[in-house]
């Protein structure tokens, strides 16, 4: 009996040791990212191959995009687990900076990134940018009636046929916050109420907006360039429209690399950020995800716009961060949750 007990206890001890510490050993870096896994994971594999440093990653889901890992980083603030946060947008890192969770790092590769897409002190550095675009189904929307502005989402002509992601997560919240910032509170609320009155279809994510439009379940929708590009690659009958090029401009959303304070592998974190800011990564993301390179001299593949050819919406990313936090309860109410 004693032998059996000893074997049982030893088995459980070994099992527990295994699940609590079996992935220790060797150089590693822990990264949390809200950049889509389908694009970010190959970048991490390339870094592993190049540096010999194992990348342990946590990816955000599309439904909780950017905010799931952001909230986790805040919750883990007292005892950080991650070294790097590679955010899908520059606004979430600012919330971490406000809470003192970020270590400034002026990466050598950040030198040539335009000033609008990085902080002066190296708290965050932008790279590979997306734009918010309209994706239209060419079978449902005649060429001469293509939407040109995000206001078309509220056009009664498209009642019940336009789609956007629920503006509680991801770049859609950022877009709405940008509208609140540029238009002012009253006009932005009126626009959102007009969308509701126009029976806009609220999808769980931008990827789902793409799917709805590609499948012909919505005539057009508001999404990101990477999702739109995915629809084009799948051969869906769609057209990508950069909205408001004669007016407000399209919202540009650079991804952003941030070094976290007191992370367990600080030096390896810096190495990963250096790699993320390389031209090689910008080129890879332009090819795989239609992200617009921010480093000068990176060739843009066909179908991807160069950042300087677009009219961008004039936004201050730092102000958007505050705006997003402030309007969240109202947005939840608007979304019926």
């Amino acid at each position: 009996m004693k032998m059996r007990m000893a074997i049982l206890l030893l088995s459980f001890g070994a099992g527990f040791w295994c699940v609590s510490g079996c992935d220790r050993g060797g150089p590693r870096v822990v990264v949390y990212t809200s950049v889509d896994q389908v694009f970010s994971e190959p970048i991490f594999r390339a870094f592993e191959k190049r540096s010999g440093i194992a990348v342990k990653a946590v990816f955000d889901t599309e439904e909780a995009k950017s905010t799931g890992v952001l909230n986790r980083l805040i919750a883990e603030g007292g005892n950080p687990q991650a070294d790097v946060f590679w955010s899908g947008d520059p606004v979430r890192p600012l919330l971490l900076i406000q809470r003192g969770l970020v270590e400034a790092y002026a990466a050598p590769n950040a030198r040539n990134i335009p000033a609008a897409f990085k902080s002066a002190d190296g708290s965050w550095t932008g790279l590979a940018a997306r734009a918010r675009v309209l994706l239209a189904n060419t079978r449902l929307v005649p060429a001469d009636q293509m939407p040109r502005s995000i206001r078309d989402l509220a056009d009664p002509r498209w009642r019940g046929q336009a789609a956007m992601a629920r503006p509680l997560f991801g770049t859609t919240t950022m877009h709405v916050a940008a509208l609140f910032s540029v238009w002012g509170e009253e006009k932005a609320r009126a626009f959102l109420n007009d969308l509701k009155a126009n029976q806009i279809r609220l999808a769980g994510s931008n990827g789902e907006v793409k799917r709805l439009v590609a499948a012909g379940e919505a005539a057009f929708g508001l999404t990101d360039t990477d999702d739109a590009n995915e629809a084009l690659r799948e051969g869906a009958p769609v057209r990508v429209i950069y909205p408001d090029q004669e007016g407000l401009g399209a919202l540009i959303v650079p991804t952003a690399a941030v070094l976290l304070k007191n992370g367990p592998n600080l030096e390896n974190g810096k190495k990963l950020i250096d790699f993320l800011l390389s031209k090689e990564v910008e080129k890879a993301l332009a090819e795989s995800a239609a992200h617009m390179p921010l480093q000068p001299g990176v060739a843009v593949p066909p179908g991807v716009s160069a950042i300087d050819t677009l009219k961008a919406m004039p936004v201050d990313y730092a102000r958007l961060a505050e705006q997003m936090e402030r309007i969240q309860p109202w947005l939840r109410e608007w979304a019926g949750l």
Binding site: M1, F12, K56, E63, G68, N79, Q81, E230
Partner: protein, 524 residues
């Protein structure tokens, strides 16, 4: 008898209870404690959230949706369970085994399969089918069909547990239909009722399918507060209170219905040798069963077709293996821990030990509580320097699974023990055997199949889990379900479909291995 020997049972049950307390109660209670301590206005906001009309409307909608999905699951699952469990339908065991596949996949993946079938551009889709799919009715159909195998399996297992002598006696004087309606189904009703409770709970707490089909439900309101920019923990905590009230009502119903009856969930009693003869009805009955099985498997077949059409199987190769290994390791580790805790607490429940109702209730509340809230609490409790070895590795997920699915292991083992005479234990005790000796030497070997069944059930729940793992899996330990859910947004449809099929295939393999173990006698 020494001091420790006399207290062996209290210590062991106490240790299992403590594990449950640390994994489930502390994290859930933290929501309120931390919010109250750090930010008193947050509590006022939490209360305000509860006073608003909208959450109650969503609660009503969720309850209705869960009730309708349960009704559908029973309507399909109970007759199916009866036909497959007790009659001479051709290939009935194979059909039952096949039905275990959709049961062990996250319903969200089945929803995706239905979308490939009935979306506007689906294999047999149209605008009308799309409208139905993306509606409350669609959510009821997807969830009802996803959980129907729970009803069919439990009904079949319940029927296998019906006393063979009773059935044989009835057959002497009555035809098969009368035996089924008057003897078998009434005898198996606790299993059917248990299936109803499980399906209702799963449908009520489901998040992925309603979000995918754009149906607003109560769990989504809680999730929105934890996934949103303002990270409104206190509001999420307060919105959990109605969920716990629902759980208490369900527990009350369950206890009043089942506490005085035992039922088989592991097929331990002697079966009737011959299945019920169907005569001329044999062919139509078999056709109905196989059509229903095909219907339940349709979303998986649809996923396979979608994967095959776009070369998904070869492309999925680069995404599959690390996550598959993670799921297997996590599932095995968690199922083993759950089997141990389930065996100890299930034994305590079956023998009506003091405090068992409290622990059972806690396990039930943790099962129904929003997984996202549990995740936030686990992070707050365990992410500290002294416990970094737990939080920083897969052990934290194992703890999360322990919190969320302990009820599955406790109830399944307790149900098995309810049919195991305590005479042997009492005799051994009379001869001076202590608790551990009786438990390890008599209870576990004599109920090895029950223990194996509890392990398999626990494994399946951990294996198919999405909600618990998605918000706090440790870096580098992403399970396959989470990977599919994450890739689903942007990866090519064929790849996502292929990964889903791989999850189903791995499930089949694990279930087959589990079945082989289940058939063996105790190895000690």
């Amino acid at each position: 008898m020494s001091f420790w020997r006399r207290r062996e049972e209290s210590l062991v049950v106490g240790a299992a209870g403590l594990a449950l307390f640390l994994a489930a109660f502390l994290p859930l209670a933290w929501t309120f404690i931390e919010a109250a301590a750090a930010d008193p206005p947050a509590l006022r906001r939490g209360l305000a959230a509860l006073k608003a009309a909208r959450p109650w409307i969503l609660l009503g909608r969720s309850l209705t949706l869960a009730a309708a999905a349960t009704a559908l699951a029973l309507l399909l699952g109970v007759p199916l369970g009866l036909l497959l469990g007790k009659t001479e339908v051709w290939g009935r065991r194979l059909a039952l085994a096949l039905q275990a596949l959709p049961m062990s996949l996250p319903p969200f993946l089945l929803g995706l399969g239905w979308f490939y079938l009935f979306g506007a551009q689906g294999f047999v889709g149209s605008e009308a089918s799309r409208r139905i799919l993306f509606s409350e009715l669609g959510a009821v159909l997807v969830l009802g069909l996803a959980f129907a195998p729970v009803a069919s399996s439990l009904t079949a297992l319940g029927l296998w547990g019906v006393d063979a002598a009773l059935e044989e006696a009835a057959r002497v004087v009555a035809g098969p239909v009368r035996v089924a309606v008057r003897i078998l189904l009434p005898a198996a009703w606790p299993a059917v009722a248990l299936a109803a409770l499980i399906v209702f709970t799963l449908a009520f707490s489901e998040l992925g399918v309603p979000m995918f089909l754009r149906v607003e439900v109560y769990p989504a309101a809680v999730f929105a507060r934890l996934g949103g920019m303002d990270f409104a923990i206190a509001e999420a905590g307060f919105l959990t209170i109605p969920l716990w009230l629902v759980a208490i009502v369900l527990l009350g119903i369950e206890r009043s219905l089942f506490r005085r009856r035992s039922f088989a969930v592991a097929g331990l009693r002697g079966r009737s040798a011959a299945p019920l003869p169907l005569g001329r009805l044999r062919f139509p009955a078999a056709a109905c069963c196989w059509l229903a099985t095909l219907l339940l498997l349709a979303p998986i077949l649809s996923l396979a077709a979608r994967a095959g059409r776009g070369g998904g199987f070869s492309a999925a190769n680069q995404w599959l293996w690390p996550s598959l290994a993670n799921s297997l390791i996590l599932g095995c580790a968690a199922a083993s821990l759950l089997a141990v805790v389930g065996a100890v607490l299930g034994h305590a429940a079956a023998r009506r030990r003091p405090g068992e109702k409290i622990l059972d209730g806690l396990a039930a509340l943790a099962f129904l509580a929003p997984a996202a809230l549990l995740g936030v609490g686990l992070t707050a409790i365990w992410n500290r320097p002294p416990t970094r070895f737990i939080y920083g590795g897969p052990a934290i997920l194992v703890l999360g699974f322990l919190a969320r699915y302990s009820i599955v292991a406790i109830r399944s083992f307790a149900a098995v023990l309810a049919q195991f005479s305590r005479d042997l234990e009492d005799t051994a005790a009379a001869f001076g055997a202590g608790y551990l000796r009786r438990f390890l030497g008599i209870v576990l070997p004599a109920n090895f199949r029950g223990l194996a069944a509890a392990w398999i059930l626990a494994f399946v729940f951990c294996w198919r889990d999405l909600e618990t793992a998605v918000l706090f899996y440790p870096a580098g330990w992403e399970p396959l379900t989470v990977k599919i859910f994450t890739l689903e947004a942007n990866a090519p449809e064929a790849v996502v479909a292929a990964l889903s099929v791989a999850q189903a295939a791995a499930t089949a393999l694990v279930l087959a291995l589990g079945f082989l173990v289940w058939r063996r006698k105790a190895p000690w």
